[in-house]
């Protein structure tokens, strides 16, 4: 197989979109228009990103452009997290802090310890993996903790009424939220290679990289995602506890999703 996909190859692959639309038409799902719009939109977005990335990480370009790209990704991901869970107070600033902390931890290890050379070509995709793969868990942790503290307010206040510090009173709910947010990623990590071949590895093999090398890169990416998910969810949960309780250890009023 050729290592690269030609424009003709891309056009041919649109047949697969036609298959999806055809199934929708056959089963009268009424989703044909949405399928075509989704595919065209994804293609347009990818081409735009590809063009921008070509500019940002082209040889000779300053690495600061790549860092700027990473910062923009973090900003955009934080705003998406905020939109996904408007009932979670202060989620925008907390998500910015959590993705920032995850960036320091993961990029610090991978580039600081020379697992990858620090170039635009490595920085941008690795930061993208970090942000993209931890966003769902971040939203889940924030939403779960807010729900727990709101729904179990009686229990939380019973703990506070016993003289517990707000951090201590929130601990069982923080643990529950972190477990719920991290478990899917742990399960995915366990099933990797057996149940499915992850995207980065598949992409590398399709691009002609030796399978063993692709596996090594994929393993690093999996560990990166695990660390990023753990870091972002922990920062979100601990940050939320600081925001949801007052200085004198009272639980603030928490709106329900229906209030938004």
């Amino acid at each position: 197989m050729n290592d690269t996909v030609s424009w003709l190859g891309l056009a041919v692959s649109l047949l697969l979109v036609a298959v999806a639309a055809g199934i929708s038409w056959w089963q009268r799902l009424g989703l044909q228009r949405q399928i075509i719009i989704a595919a065209v939109r994804a293609l347009a977005q990818l081409l735009l990103v590809g063009a921008a990335l070509t500019l940002v990480i082209s040889p000779g370009r300053s690495i600061w452009w790549s860092w700027l790209w990473v910062a923009a990704m973090i900003g955009y991901a934080s705003s998406v997290a905020r939109r996904r869970a408007p009932e979670v107070p202060h989620l925008l600033t907390l998500a910015l802090a959590s993705f920032g902390a995850a960036a320091v931890v993961t990029l610090g290890v991978l580039f600081g310890l020379h697992v990858f050379p620090l170039t635009g070509r490595t920085l941008v995709p690795i930061a993208g993996m970090m942000v993209g793969n931890s966003m769902t868990a971040t939203v889940l942790a924030g939403r779960r903790l807010t729900d727990e503290l709101r729904d179990k307010r009686d229990e939380v206040e019973a703990r506070l009424a016993l003289g517990q510090h707000s951090r201590q009173a929130a601990t069982p709910y923080v643990r529950s939220a972190l477990r719920a947010a991290l478990t899917p990623q742990i399960e995915t990590t366990k099933a990797t290679g057996l149940v499915f071949l992850p995207g980065a590895m598949t992409g590398l093999i399709l691009a002609g990289v030796a399978p063993l090398q692709a596996v090594l890169v994929q393993a690093v990416v999996m560990f990166l995602v695990l660390a990023a998910t753990a870091t972002t969810t922990a920062v979100i949960a601990l940050g939320l506890v600081r925001r949801l309780f007052t200085q004198d250890h009272r639980l603030r009023y928490l709106p329900t999703p229906a209030d938004h």
């Binding site: 019973a158 009424a161 003289g163 009272r250």
Partner: protein
């Protein structure tokens, strides 16, 4: 004097739940705060435990304004039992230990005995207790912090006659041991049975109503 309220006002969604309450609550015996549902009784208790703060006015505890007291220490001195029992996951011992993780088994057993519960219940799953036992376990959990004042927020509203009577007797015993009790209820008969004095809270205003008859 246990509590002193000075022009205490609490607003909620624009409504005055409590309006310019000025009153004192003595430290001795059981003070009942009676009144219809929605009169602001629970809010008044929550102010005494600092789970809420007033929009206007001040609450003083034993002569000191609440905001000068460390809230964590205050809450251990002023324990609160809620209307609905709030068992935490785990055994009865786990529940009591939340209040005092370093407490010995002997101390936990004593707390159960003080509320007329068998110390053999320590190892039992808290959520398997009956309603009356559960509410007394919550009282025992509060006693583990060795409070000098107890705030009881309609603690027997969901109990049948027999467990209600056991709870009332337990509270009387605790009052006899020198613990100040403020008991919120909308049950006039219960107020008359347990109170050393009764305050009426109506439409946001608190007034001394009567001396209770006690047991």
């Amino acid at each position: 004097m246990a509590f002193e309220f000075q022009r205490l006002t609490v607003l909620r969604a624009g409504r005055r739940v409590l309006e310019e309450i000025t009153a004192t609550i003595p430290a001795a015996g059981i003070t009942v705060v009676a009144g219809p549902s929605g009169a602001g009784k629970t809010t008044l208790l929550r102010l005494c435990n600092r789970l809420e703060i007033p929009d206007e006015g001040t609450v003083s505890y034993r002569g000191r304004p609440m905001d000068e007291l460390d809230p964590l220490t205050l809450r251990r001195r002023v324990g609160m039992v809620f209307q609905r029992p709030t068992p935490f996951p785990g055994s009865v011992a786990d529940n009591l230990a939340v209040a005092h993780p370093e407490a010995t088994t002997g101390e936990l057993s004593t707390a159960l005995t003080r509320v007329a519960l068998d110390s053999g219940l320590l190892g039992q799953d808290a959520r398997s207790l009956s309603g009356g036992e559960l509410q007394r376990m919550c009282l025992a959990r509060t006693l583990v912090t060795r409070p000098e004042t107890l705030l009881l927020d309609e603690p027997t509203s969901a109990l049948d006659a027999r467990p209600k009577q056991v709870f009332e007797n337990t509270a009387r015993d605790l009052a006899g041991q020198g613990i100040t009790i403020i008991w919120v209820t909308h049950d006039d008969a219960q107020a008359a049975r347990v109170a050393d004095r009764i305050y009426q809270l109506r439409e946001g205003h608190l007034a001394r109503a009567a001396e209770g008859t006690g047991p």
